[in-house]
Point group: C2
Chain length 334, copies 2
DNA sequence: GTGAAAGCGCTAACAG
DNA sequence: CTGTTAGCGCTTTCAC
């Protein structure tokens, strides 16, 4: 049998509302008779009271639950993001519902809708398709619903966003490659970015190369392991000797492709990844990476989100989190 | 503004209960006037009705939510389990709350308590500490609360459980090593298992070796990357030439330790992992593994859990999911 | 300082 | 076939 407010009220001989006020430590609770308060607290402990989330949620309209909509956590990058988010949300007293979606308009829409009907207090959106053309996003913005968009390749005016600034990391990465003597560097970009009117990683890469006087070239590659390995095989046959790829996953696939054709990394090709998940460090050779600071990414996002939840008037924030360069055995030491 | 049952009822000119019955497609709905039904359905669509989870949960006592309590999903193994669980639960129309806990009694207890107060309909427990001495688990069992325990190293009578049977995978693995000419094989077991009165992986390993006439030895190693690398360095200096380790993560750490001291894998040492996460295949050399079937593990668990939720009388199930052996470059081809 | 009462949106008997 | 009624357990406003 589970204890309710009413049980405590009866036990102590007061009204449920009094109990509610005390257990939630509302301002008014201070003005209660000290003794009444103590008796309520004691009874709660004694009866092992656990407030009912569902009842509380219905009555208050708050669920103490946030949601993270992101790509599948079978992807190490998202697994790391989700892990960090889970941990930090818990620390802040929130539950986190993870909604893993494929990179697909309709699926993302349904996911968000479902979370809304669940009345999550706010959402972290780390998805690909929910852009500002989407009626759903427009609706959310109009309703002033608390959301923070994570790592979108495009800037939004009317929504809070937190994103990695790839400039410092890429600058250091290309600088390192240049120091190794490379006059040109090749960038493998995510295929989907090819036709999007946005500023993907390769744009920052181009800029960095221009500044450093390094010749830049770009090609495209999809997410699948097979596609990345194939890209690695292609690169093995190409004149390129320095490559940066859009994610750790892609980079590892590419290296596996290079190794398959008997190339040596970094002997024949210096390779740098992006993301810098903790696992990529375990790879052999350990991956040199442009590292995203997932802890900052999430903590900034949650801070903004909670601020908005507490005060709906809060204006939008736009926070860039700097990336850095991590050395690894996949490039020469210089 | 959000649409409620009452809005629809008013719009159509019927009572809320009628609307509820129709929209939930209860048996009785079939007996309604076809026209009334259609008008309700139309109105729901027109007003873009979304039922409130919180209200439904409070009234029905069901939350359409399950929980997975497991280790941190920054561990690839748990990330894979969580990913699979997320996907399958969604397919079954359930949300999944993931509660990542450290391997620690009190933290697990608090996690489970919190989930209970959230009234999740059932739980998948993949934790280390919640054994049958725990009063909380005893309580859950007594309350006939739907839980399924995943991959415990010990068998429980009064709780449903689903676990990997490591015998077939280890048998194939050791058989392969024997075929390569190894007279003895070393097993690296998880340190925590050392003093537990349970049947950890190394026990199955011992059994397999005995059957195959291979000399078995066992040592222990903790989870941390550093500990595993150190173990690898130790093994590099040891006479062992064939090693199996308790997880993919540990195995990769061990190989990195071996490589650090200039050993070749599999040239100097044949190494086999356990778990067989999708990422370990990407490692270099790709990991030969005793593979756990996470999809089966989860689908069986969910099936049992949902059966229990639907019918509390359902007796406990005890399901073993066979493992298999996956070849990889970390062992000789034979 | 404490209690009474209304209501959050939905479900589920039971009555008509 | 459809409506009535009574909650689910908690929050919150207002009255005593």
């Amino acid at each position: 049998m589970v204890t309710t407010l009413a049980d405590i009220a009866q036990h102590v001989g007061v009204d449920v509302s009094t109990v509610s006020i005390v257990l939630n430590d509302r301002p008014k609770a201070q003005r209660l008779l000290k003794e009444t308060r103590q008796r309520i607290l004691d009874a709660a402990r004694e009866l092992n009271y656990q407030s009912s989330f569902t009842a509380r949620a219905l009555a208050s309209g708050k669920t103490s639950t946030l949601a993270l909509v992101c790509g599948g956590i079978d992807n190490p990058y998202f697994a790391q993001i989700a892990s960090t988010a889970l941990e930090q949300a818990a620390k802040l007293g929130y539950h986190l519902l993870i909604n893993a979606v494929r990179w697909e308009q309709e699926e993302e829409r349904r996911g968000v809708q479902m979370l809304l009907s669940r009345q999550v207090d706010g959402m972290l959106l780390h998805t690909g398709c929910l852009n500002d053309d989407s009626p759903l996003l427009k609706q959310l913005i109009k309703d002033n619903y608390p959301i923070v968009m994570l790592n979108l390749p495009k800037r939004y005016q009317h929504v809070s966003e937190v994103y990695s600034d790839f400039y410092p990391g890429l600058l250091a990465a290309v600088t390192h490659l240049k120091a190794l003597g490379h006059q040109q560097v090749h960038f493998v970009e995510y295929l989907r970015m090819k036709h999007q009117p946005v500023a993907p990683k390769s744009v920052t890469f181009d800029k960095v190369c221009r500044e450093l006087g390094v010749k830049a070239s770009v090609s495209y590659c999809d997410l699948s392991t097979e596609a990345c390995m194939e890209k690695g095989r292609q690169l093995a046959e190409s004149p390129h000797q320095a490559v940066i790829a859009y994610s750790d996953n892609a980079t590892i696939g590419i290296i596996n492709g290079l190794l398959e054709l008997g190339r040596d990394v970094p002997g024949d090709m210096d390779v740098i990844g992006m993301d810098g998940t903790r696992w990529s460090e375990q790879y052999n050779p350990s991956l040199a990476c442009v590292v995203q600071d997932d802890v900052q990414l999430i903590s900034q996002s949650l801070e903004i989100l909670l601020a908005k939840i507490k005060n709906p008037q809060m204006p939008c924030s736009h926070v860039a989190v700097p990336t850095s360069f991590r050395m690894g055995r996949s490039v020469g030491m210089g």
